[in-house]
């Protein structure tokens, strides 16, 4: 069943996209979010883990037993990955955002550039 979670809060969508198809711990998620938004989005530690708590409760992500980061590995680190439900929510949220963007473009309010949307 499709969970009623759209529209997703921005922090939740960023985390889901940062996880993508990999297992990551909190620090790696935070760095990936900064990387994919060119530093525009910086989540504090508390904000990140509050969003993670909600995503876990919603079943969109889960803790992973895999520990794929040999550099920063530490047995206390928790790794997370996106679930099938999480992927489905990302897909539907992306479609929703794409439709909004199409609408904005059709009204001349947004144009694509190499750097993104203006």
């Amino acid at each position: 069943m499709q969970p009623q979670l759209t529209p997703l809060p921005a922090a939740a969508l960023h985390i889901l996209l940062a996880l993508g198809t990999e297992e990551r711990h909190g620090y790696a998620i935070m760095r990936e979010v900064e990387h994919m938004t060119n530093g525009a989005t910086r989540m504090g530690p508390g904000t990140l883990y509050t969003a993670i708590q909600k995503l876990l409760a919603s079943g969109l992500i889960e803790e992973s037993p895999e520990r794929p980061d040999p550099i920063l590995d530490d047995e206390r680190r928790r790794y997370y990955r996106v679930t099938a439900a999480g992927r489905e929510v990302v897909r539907s949220e992306s479609q929703r955002l794409a439709a909004l963007l199409d609408r904005a473009r059709s009204q001349g309010l947004a144009t694509w550039t190499r750097a993104g949307v203006r």
Binding site: Y27, G44, Y49, T50, L72
Partner: protein, 192 residues
């Protein structure tokens, strides 16, 4: 390359102490990873920008701590408070209907109250919520004020039924005592 640079125990100790602003349930689950993440970010700030970057990072972390802890506490409070408020109102109705109106209606409401309390027992008796005793104490004081009101305001009493005021007074006193007991129990069972 050695990734784990010199730890910054003082910063971490201070930040860990500040994490107490979060509710205990959240802290039990996430204080360690949050502190670890803080340490990672602090290490980055120190490596990339020295003291100024560390100060800037502290400002961001402190802001995050304040805003996010308020959100988490508000969420927790709204969940539990909603349920406890419902039960408290229902308890008040039971009490008043038994005293003033009709014993049968009071009994029906009492059964409803007990059923709801059993159904929601996990939320209702969540020992990790530390503010609830004050709600109970407040309710007790309100009930006692009601008793005082019944005695001194003629308009409320009409044909004065003197049985009501002492009953309300005793009920209020018991409720306040229960709240105080819960507060003491919550304090005593707090983890060091």
């Amino acid at each position: 390359m050695k990734i784990h640079e010199a730890p910054r125990p003082l910063h971490l100790r201070v930040y860990r102490a500040l994490l107490r602003v979060y509710p205990r349930a959240f802290r039990d689950e996430y204080a360690d990873p949050i502190a670890q993440l803080f340490n990672d970010r602090l290490r980055d700030a120190n490596r990339l920008g020295g003291r100024r970057a560390v100060a800037a990072f502290w400002a961001v972390a402190a802001g995050d701590l304040v805003t996010n802890s308020i959100k988490v506490r508000f969420k927790e409070m709204s969940n539990v408070l909603a349920m406890r408020s419902t039960l408290l109102v229902l308890a008040g109705l039971v009490y008043l209907s038994m005293m003033l109106v009709d014993g049968a209606l009071g009994l029906l409401l009492l059964l409803l109250l007990v059923g709801l309390a059993i159904y929601q027992r996990k939320t209702l008796f969540a020992s990790k919520v530390s503010f609830s005793p004050w709600l109970v104490i407040a309710a007790g004081l309100i009930i006692m004020t009601g008793a005082f009101g019944v005695l001194v305001v003629p308009g409320l009493s009409g044909d004065v039924r003197w049985g009501i005021a002492p009953a309300l007074g005793i009920g209020g006193l018991l409720t306040t005592g229960l709240g105080l007991g819960l507060a003491v129990w919550g304090y005593a069972s707090r983890r060091p």
